[in-house]
């Protein structure tokens, strides 16, 4: 693709919540191993995936994000022992509700990624960006009402 075509092409805005102990360290490892994933992903550090409140996810979509991904330690490896178990249940219910309301379920994702899985982290981010890009701008979560 030529450069200017690159410009007009749709760039998804993706918010990633990474848990400080595993996935944030995994992201750092992906960086130090000079792997690459699109610049559209912006990472917010949280103490644990259990800290991610559904309010943050819906807030991100409200403010224009096209995809939200939550990364945490593998179940059983959580630094706080049970944080990701609760997160897993919360996200399962939340994603099921978003799917129930007709929102494309490719826009949300949970990925368990340990501090040693730099490669997995960058692959996940590449995959997720591709998926969200194919879904296009997040409109459904933006205007479920037909008012103005």
């Amino acid at each position: 693709m030529s450069m200017n075509e690159e410009k007009t092409e749709f760039r998804p805005l993706i918010v990633a919540f990474c848990c400080n102990w595993c996935s944030y360290a995994g992201a750092d490892l992906a960086g130090s191993s000079r792997l690459s994933y699109p610049a559209d992903v912006k990472i917010i550090r949280v103490p644990c995936s259990g800290r991610v409140n559904p309010m943050f996810i819906l807030r991100a979509f409200e403010r224009g994000a096209d995809g939200v991904i939550i990364c945490g330690c593998h179940p059983g490896d959580c630094h706080y022992s049970t944080g990701n178990y609760y997160a897993r249940r919360r996200m399962t219910l939340l994603f099921s509700m978003l799917d129930y309301m007709g929102v494309e379920n490719g826009r949300t994702r949970v990925e368990w990624c340990s501090a040693a899985e730099g490669v997995k982290f960058s692959n996940t981010m590449n995959e997720f960006c591709e998926k969200v890009k194919s879904l296009g701008k997040s409109v459904r979560l933006g205007d479920i009402r037909c008012k103005d």
Binding site: S36, P47, G83
Partner: protein
């Protein structure tokens, strides 16, 4: 409004290569709250920190944003630097524009734009930061070592010598671990038990060290400085105080003569009685009854050992005992074992008794081993004239059955084996099939060259495709010689496999108990590969020996010493600074519904009736109260709380919301 200073680091070219640092400074200068913005080549350097301290004083800044490498790397540095300038360390935020921006993206414009966004998010967060004071928690002056191999022993001795109480929990009936099974050690050819046994005795006699052998860790709770560990002391069926270690019971046990129970210590090369000590120099020198195989426990008959025991030490009714002990620090020294070779059918390990692993060879060559030190083929007990060593069995293996990593020690111990055999029986013909001979240590390469030049060990660069037991009892080895680029078909008397190492079974269970991070190969992950190799990211948990990764005995001992010093450094403190980013409940909004207490992994939340006063409110309410000493700041309670009453200091709801807002702006 805050007065925020933003410092953007070049990090040499690490950041500056793909991020236009000047432009970032230019764009963040006008974010709300920012009064000063600057950049510098190395923010974490002495000069960089001086610049920060000067700016804090000159512009009397109330908040700092450092755009540099990962906060996991230098957040402590920049917080300490802020503290020096009199600014509360928790008013500092780090934007990760290296590992998560400049190193990841190639396009300069994209990387710069993302760096600005990450900086903006950090600035928005600092705007809402509040000064936090670190709390204090007491330190139990006692350490726990899980695993009694050379790593555990050395760590325990170093800590005990520093004057602190240490407990070792060892799963086997005796300490000593893998090393007690070795014959000689490289590169000095010291006899393994000669250098290990004195240390084992020293551990047993050291006033500060308590041994829990034939015991396992059942549960761990609490946090750095205040661990509560439940230890299960499995019943030995022998009263340790009474037993003199005379060994009568071992000799008279009927099952010993019948030779049915394979001895784990001798890797199954010989058998042992039901009541046994794993090896002669076992510490503690007290036998254990193997309840699975002992006739008395299976059918209620026999009982010979109880009858003949001179000091009446045998006690069949002994029960498992669980003790709970408080510790300040825990060291994981769970060691390693050889991988299971069932999936490596090509080497016929399970078909022919003459195909053995290197550790079995250690037992054969050991004077106290099954053959009393005579090297024999297990099939016809003849001395082998021709031996083939195969390297990297299961190591550096890219498919599922093996391990992707190099086990680091096999090249050296194979060279050792070759030299020792050549030394005792010079006419033995030895061939070693290798991919690369790795000798990365002091006197290692000289040691290996002696084996080649002085002892004429035949090293063949190439792998072995198949080992086929022949009808005449010999073994046909099909390999390839890459240097001469030709097939090799070689008959030999014995094949020794240098099998890959892997962490001991059960280490994952222990890691889960300790909430220590662990990688896919079950090696424990260190806090930082280069800067903190002996600490787990979980505070108060330390790593020693093979549990952290493949290494030889010299490295294990040095790592054990390092872990010991870290533990001593921790136990030396009377008070530990606790993480102030803990949860806090706002009584005005709390419903007292106990949802948060149900999800708190540390039991840090209790309930009180408090008098709540506010506009239109004046009543006593059942309100949650967080015990800051127990709370580790995971935040599970904050997202379980519907009304937002429970909030996490340092990562509050509004802070994360404002980060989301500024990213999506």
């Amino acid at each position: 409004m805050q007065r925020i200073g933003v410092f953007v680091c070049h990090c040499g070219t690490n950041i500056a290569a793909t991020v236009d640092v000047k432009k970032v400074v230019e764009l963040v200068r006008f974010e709300p709250g920012v009064v000063f913005a600057d950049d510098y080549m190395y923010m974490c350097s002495e000069a960089g920190q001086e610049k920060i301290i000067a700016a804090i004083k000159e512009h009397d800044l109330t908040g700092l944003v450092i755009c540099s490498c990962s906060p996991r790397m230098h957040e402590k540095t920049f917080r300490a630097c802020a503290e020096k300038a009199g600014l509360n360390p928790y008013m500092v935020e780090v934007a990760n524009i290296r590992e998560q921006c400049s190193w990841i993206h190639k396009d300069r414009e994209e990387a710069t734009e993302k760096a600005v966004i990450l900086a903006r998010a950090a600035i928005a967060k600092v705007n809402l930061n509040t000064p936090l004071q670190e709390g204090e928690s007491p330190v139990t002056k006692r350490a726990l070592i899980i695993g009694g191999g050379i790593a555990g022993i050395q760590t325990a001795l170093d800590i005990a010598d520093a004057g602190y109480e240490v407990d070792i929990v060892e799963r086997e009936p005796s300490i000593g671990g893998r090393m007690s099974q070795f014959d000689k050690t490289f590169p000095t050819l010291d006899c393994a038990s000669c250098i290990l046994t004195p240390k084992m005795v020293e551990v047993n006699q050291h006033p500060n060290i308590t041994l829990y052998t034939y015991s396992e860790v059942e549960g761990v709770s609490g946090y750095v400085g205040n661990f509560d560990v439940k230890i299960r002391k499995k019943a030995r069926s022998v009263d340790m105080s009474a037993c003199t270690g005379c060994g009568e019971c071992q000799a008279k046990c009927p099952l010993g003569k019948m030779g049915k129970i394979p001895s784990e210590f001798d890797r199954g090369l010989r058998t042992r009685p039901a009541i046994y000590m794993p090896f002669a120099q076992a510490v503690p020198a007290v036998p254990v009854i193997d309840r699975e195989n002992c006739t008395y426990f299976k059918t209620g008959k026999c009982g010979v050992c109880a009858k003949i025991c001179p000091s009446k030490a045998v006690n069949y009714e002994q029960e498992d005992e669980i003790v709970t002990v408080k510790y300040g620090a825990i060291v994981v020294a769970t060691g390693f074992d050889i991988i299971n070779l069932d999936k490596f059918g090509e080497y016929a390990y399970n078909e022919s008794p003459d195909v053995i692993t290197s550790i079995e060879l250690e037992r054969l060559m050991n004077a106290s081993g099954p053959t009393g030190g005579h090297l024999e083929r297990m099939s016809d007990h003849k001395q082998p004239k021709d031996i083939v060593f195969i390297q990297c069995v299961g190591s550096r293996c890219d498919d599922e059955k093996g391990k992707p990593y190099c086990s680091k020690v096999c090249c050296m111990y194979t060279a050792k084996h070759a030299m020792l055999i050549k030394d005792h029986w010079p006419d033995t013909n030895i061939t070693v099939f290798y991919i690369d001979v790795r000798t990365p240590g002091k006197n290692f390469d000289e040691f290996y060259r002696r084996a080649v030049e002085q002892y004429h060990v035949n090293y063949v660069k190439g792998q072995v495709g198949k080992v086929i037991p022949q009808p005449d009892g010999s073994l046909l080895v099909q390999g390839v010689d890459l240097l001469d680029n030709k097939q090799i078909m070689k008959k030999t008397d014995m094949v020794v496999l240098a099998a890959a190492v892997e962490p001991n079974k059960g280490v994952r269970k222990i890691a889960t108990m300790l909430t220590a991070s662990i990688d896919n190969n079950d090696f424990l992950t260190e806090a930082h590969a280069k800067l903190r190799p002996v600490e787990s990211p979980t505070a108060g948990i330390f790593l020693s020996g093979m549990a952290q990764g493949p290494k030889d005995i010299p490295e294990t001992v040095s790592q054990a010493g390092a872990a010991a010093v870290k533990v001593v450094g921790l136990l030396a403190k009377d008070k530990l600074k606790t993480n102030p980013c803990t949860a806090k409940c706002d009584p005005m909004f709390c419903n007292g519904c106990s949802t948060c207490a149900n999800v708190c992994p540390y039991g840090a939340i209790t309930y009180e009736d408090q008098q709540v006063r506010g506009p239109g409110v004046n009543e006593t309410r059942r309100v949650a109260v967080v015990n800051n000493a127990l709370c580790q700041g995971c935040g599970a309670c904050t997202s379980a709380c519907p009304s937002g009453a429970m909030d996490l200091q340092g990562f509050s709801n509004r802070q994360i919301t404002t980060e989301v807002d500024s990213i999506c702006r």
